[in-house]
Amino acid sequence: MGATKVDGNDKGKVRIFTLSTCIWCKKTKEFLAQNNVAYEYIDMDKLDADEKDAALVELKKWNEKCSMPTVVVNDSVCIVGFKEQEIREALSL
């Protein structure tokens, strides 16, 4: 499904739900890249209808509001919004 992988150091499974137009999402991606963290992102506005439905079902499990960015670490920790400190803690950066 429409996830794009970005190479880096393995800090666990890092999956982020984003919008290509959202600058907070852009900041989140840049932060992960600057810290050389491997992650995958799903730009929700770039998906076709079926992909979007599936991604929304997944996102909603973590974040009822389905807002972006939502960062999910190791299928256990969810951080809504670009909260640098919380992301650092979740990834031990």
């Binding site: 137009t21 959202c22 600058i23 907070w24 929700m44 509001k65 670009f82």
Partner: protein, 185 residues
């Protein structure tokens, strides 16, 4: 995003959009984010959404792809003023409070104020039952003007400007005095 024109054209269009937003904000007593590259990125995203959807859907929210599903999140969104007042910035942080504009306060992530029913509708691509008749939909999803729980009306004591909204604006859009110069009408 559209691939139309050269990179230089694109830059000029973003610059023009940013200048227009800035001028309109100032004229209405609003402030754009003082982080200029950040605000310009948002101006570019608004252009992308105008091309993509035909209207400037909020760059930081999932668009329903149809104007009637996104009326409340077309920039400036229905939630801007309340978020600027409470959090110092609107949801995407294009617009900020005077404090933030002057560098006296930092912008932090703004929680989503948009009602769940509208988020759901945009996600599903269909209007919720309660809002299926756009003509009857109040601009702020609140009570209709003059209804039993009418929105208060505020009067600028300096120029007489009247507005119906939950709180007076931070700055009078007409004469630019601050919100403490308003009285309940």
């Amino acid at each position: 995003m559209s691939g139309a024109g050269t990179e230089g054209d694109r830059e000029r269009r973003v610059e023009a959009k940013y200048e227009k937003l800035k001028k309109e904000a100032a004229a209405g007593g609003y402030f754009l984010n003082p982080d200029e590259p950040f605000a310009k990125d948002l101006a570019e995203s608004l252009l992308v959404n105008e091309e993509r959807y035909g209207y400037a859907a909020c760059p930081c929210r999932l668009s329903g792809g149809r104007r009637e599903l996104d009326l409340d999140i077309i920039c400036p969104c229905d939630y801007r003023d309340a978020d600027v007042e409470e959090h110092g910035a609107c949801y995407c942080a294009l617009y900020v409070s005077g404090e933030v504009a002057r560098g006296e306060r930092e912008v932090a992530p703004v929680p989503e104020r948009r009602p769940d029913a509208l988020i759901e509708a945009a996600a599903k691509g269909g209007l919720p039952v309660a809002a299926s008749q756009p003509a009857e939909r109040a601009p702020s999803q609140g009570a209709a003007f003059g209804g039993s729980s009418a929105i208060p009306v505020w009067r600028c004591k300096v120029c007489g400007y009247l507005c119906a909204r939950d709180n007076p604006p931070g700055v009078c859009p007409i004469c630019k005095v601050t919100k403490d110069r308003f009285e309940r009408f």
